[in-house]
Subunit: 346 residues, 2 copies
């Protein structure tokens, strides 16, 4: 489309700083004739302290009207754990039915991996985004007493599992290596595990060109550090995906580079793009945050909106920028943003 109507939620901590760079690069990469409109939403810790709101209905409605959402980071130690996560971030993912939480992992040249031998890492995790242990089902009885019982219910539906599994097979089929790994824990979580595994096996039959395998989540973490090159596409549930993608970010040079898209492929609701890292309040406001994860999330956003050439340009710019970082003096958030904006514009 020849215009992008973007909602921007800078959020907390370093969110504001990194989002500014994401927008800078986005403006720079878009052709002259694509009009970019942005509207900022004041949501996050400060808003909650001021008004008690996390995400009022009127803003949820307004957000629906945009083509996509760019989000910085949510969360602050001054807010009780869970309030903003559940009341804002997860509320958006669930309300807008972001069932594909897409998290690519690539070891770029010159980036510092903690792994010896710099294995060749280039995989993508397709994390389910609307079910599993993230539904908020559960509760607590006799709270705060020695007789307390607290439960968390992981909810998994054939509907929800099949659509994410299909999406993952499509993505695997479109990649050169055509490999898809289901990660779960079906030897212990037998009910959810059987639903995932049976669905996976059934859909696999429709994709004979994709080589499909299964790993328990505990075993998967081992391969992430001993043999990450074995992975191409991974499909997994909401919680396992959360854990695995932080680990993936760590082995591919850190959370400062990990991008993500909360995608509703049907287009019924706007998709939301955000770096995997959190609000990092310890370094907020100091110009120390690496905006690269946000810029790579902008690439996912561009691709989602059909601007493939621009998405590729952003990714190439990041790649080239990282290749030159080696040994160079550390740059500020703003300087990295500027450098990337210059690269994509040229």
């Amino acid at each position: 489309s020849r215009s992008i109507d973007l909602a921007v939620i800078p959020g907390d901590g370093i969110g504001q700083e990194v989002v500014a760079q994401g927008l800078k690069v986005l403006s720079a990469v878009l052709p002259q004739d694509v009009k970019l409109e942005t509207k900022e939403y004041d949501l996050g810790a400060q808003r909650w302290h001021r008004t008690g709101d996390t995400l009022p209905d009127v803003e949820l409605e307004a957000l629906k009207g945009h083509d996509a959402i760019l989000l910085g980071a949510i969360g602050d130690p001054s807010v009780p754990s869970g309030v903003l996560e559940r009341g804002l971030l997860l509320k958006l993912r669930f309300a807008f039915d972001h069932f594909i939480n897409l998290r690519p992992s690539k070891l770029f040249p010159n980036t510092a991996t903690p792994l010896a031998g710099r294995p060749d890492i280039d995989f993508v995790v397709v994390r389910e985004g609307t079910e599993g242990p993230y539904t908020g089902n559960g509760g607590s009885l006799r709270t705060g007493t020695p007789a307390e019982v607290a439960t968390e219910v992981s909810v998994n539906t054939a509907y929800g599992v099949e659509r994410v599994v299909r999406d993952a097979f499509e993505r695997a089929a479109a990649r050169p290596r055509k490999k898809l790994t289901l990660v779960h824990k079906n030897n212990v979580l037998v009910y959810a595990g059987h639903l995932w595994k049976n669905t996976f096996d059934r859909v696999a039959a429709e994709y004979p060109q994709v080589s499909a395998d299964y790993l328990h989540v505990d075993a998967a973490t081992i391969f992430f550090v001993t043999q990450p090159e074995r992975f191409d596409v991974i499909v997994t549930d909401n919680l396992f995906g959360d854990i695995l993608t932080d680990l993936a970010a760590a082995v591919t040079g850190g959370i400062g580079l990990a991008a993500s898209g909360n995608i509703n492929p049907t287009g019924a609701f706007p998709s939301m793009f955000e770096p995997v890292h959190g609000s990092a309040p310890d370094i907020a406001g100091q110009g120390k945050a690496d905006p690269t994860a946000t810029v790579l999330s902008v690439a996912l956003l561009l691709r989602h909106l059909g601007h493939e050439a621009e998405a590729a340009r952003v990714e190439e710019a990041v790649c080239a920028d990282l290749a030159e970082r080696d040994g160079a003096a550390p740059r500020t958030t703003d300087e990295i943003g500027d450098a990337l904006a210059v690269r994509v514009a040229s």
Copy 2:
């Protein structure tokens, strides 16, 4: 005590081979006047194929009478996923109230870690063993249809959380660094998370000498690869503990070295010691399995039964053996067992 009445469950795959070495080392390290009696239990995949039994009541009763249990590995691809895990391994952990699943992680000299720079790793994970998502609560509705709903319920009680948290504080207080980290995901799993965090904070007040902190499970996986030396004792729930300890094993030289104890500290039931690795059917019967994890589990068993000096001798033998492995030709399961038996005897 001057005798050990040990139940032995070799189980599946490499279980038989590694358990044989564990027993060899155990016999060699015990003083002459400590009588070792062992009774083998035929449980696992073969038994299930033959009789359909996983763990009959009569054997569960008989197992109760022993001082401890040494287990090799459970699981075989010929058995539907979950049958042996739930029907045998987890049944034992739950029936014998093994609420402490103790999993030390140490990077021994000369072992191959996938981490660059060989960080100094020496921590222990205290994994809850009788609650969380492992209870088997949950179910599936309209199974096998497009309308299926499958749930898994994580059950957490103040009773269960407090006892494992107290145990972890005791262990942390007894270690030189006196550090304890709670790992959970209390920004999403708010009900269970609050119970864990509140219990942890309350007990922490009784241990001012222990420095206590909290990490989300996703962030914890990052530190496992970027800064594992930051950990001393970790306490966490059953599922997070499962995932983290495989990752810990991977960064400390592999699952072939990772020991564990399923402990009931009250002594009401026998505790059970097992390597963290599985049955590895692909290498079973070839003399390729590394029995070191089982031998280190025997050290935990000795310590649990009050044979501290012998436990330390076994650990020192492993340490010395590993120190000499560097560049040496690979040895068979039996050869490693023999070498360790010789070391502990001398």
